[in-house]
Subunit: 279 residues, 2 copies
Amino acid sequence: MNRLSLNQWTTRHWSVPEAVAGCRRHGIEAIGLWREPVAEHGLAATVKLVRDAGLRVSSLCRGGFFTGSTWLDDNRAAVDEAAELGAACLVLVVGGLPGVVPGEALGARVSRDLAGARSQVAQALDALVPHAEERNVRLALEPLHPMYAADRAVLSTLGQALDLAEPYPSERVGVVVDTFHVWWDPEVERQIARAGDRIASYQVCDQLMPLPADVLLGRAMMGDGVIDVAPLTRAVTAAGYAGDIEVEIFNAGVWGADPDEVLATMKRRYATHVVPALG
Amino acid sequence: MNRLSLNQWTTRHWSVPEAVAGCRRHGIEAIGLWREPVAEHGLAATVKLVRDAGLRVSSLCRGGFFTGSTWLDDNRAAVDEAAELGAACLVLVVGGLPGVVPGEALGARVSRDLAGARSQVAQALDALVPHAEERNVRLALEPLHPMYAADRAVLSTLGQALDLAEPYPSERVGVVVDTFHVWWDPEVERQIARAGDRIASYQVCDQLMPLPADVLLGRAMMGDGVIDVAPLTRAVTAAGYAGDIEVEIFNAGVWGADPDEVLATMKRRYATHVVPALG
């Protein structure tokens, strides 16, 4: 149980101090932070808060979105924040096709050049790595479910993320294995084994069926959907991953519930669905 | 233009005679038929109708859904129908996780054994092939977009479909390349090249963004979404595919429009987005 980490977005209506207090109250030893609430509370204040609480910062979410005009400055700032927080990694969601805005109708300036967008991700990563090296921050490429390929991440499989990471040392560029994003992939167990010490973060949740109208909110508490997280957990463990395990859920029902209830449920479900597979 | 085929579901409110008449009116030489409307019009009557009209039957949709209790009888009947119609192939959509019903909340009897479901598909295919051999029908495995992995097809990538098809002669078990289902796949061009003469059907359409509330209806007319069909068309052509090219669209707006307008638009869009890539 001591590897369980609360990804802050699971309790998105909690501020940073509320989430930190919640972790302490429920005996959770690690937290995955998001940049927006950290900025709201203040970076230095957050650093002090998590240190005083004795929490590990399992990840900072998130850098990436390399298609924006200020992407390099934004990502360098994210690296700096991850360094200050002592985060185990900075999660990178690389962005979709240039000009596609999540939730909005397609405009005239949308690019459909998927191969070009993917090659730009490789270039952006290369531009960012020296700063991560300087600040001793580990970047973590997150492949997203292919249903987000157009609007959020042209990085769609773990194999593709590993191909991108390969030119760099594994302590500098790792990958995120998120059950929701990878469970369907016929190659996933082979790619997890290939990943080995590139695994910078393991995130667990379930997938709702039917998917809700906003597919971004299709994540659910383990046991409430169609994913068997046990084989994925076993594969990640066999690959050598021994870090924190985040529960990250985007779900209208979870967000609307009492966050203390959510943490209690999360602990029960983690004990049932994840712990036995840790061996 | 002579390779353009109307997949009947694009004009789903048309009966078989209406769709056949529509093809003739618009100079379309091939049609992809669906079993339900064919049954409604009568199999023998449909055979006569398409022959008299001089139309090629580019595919019969669809067999598969191997998780149902009557799957083997259903699929043998589908093979027989494809044989009578002289269809170029019988499209197989293999089904999702046992117990998951599209559009319905998850019941207590849902299986989450994805690996098991996939191995059952291989067994079902093996049971069906002798009958297809006997009737000289080509089966065509269709990988579906991973967002349908739980409820419609545990077959999620072209590579996986090819692995399944490999034990059989290519004239007996082929694959469907559908732009909507495969465009996001980082491996797709490599797998299309690998497919070669296994390509039994090429289906084109676009993907809407944002996805509609029912993700099944996310298909769109070429040019209305985020997919560049040109590189996929070039890859399929380079792999040697010279058969009919179906336009198959599940889309509330398309279904609500005047079907004659839909066919006119389809021809224009096909001329713009597909023909130049045929070389």
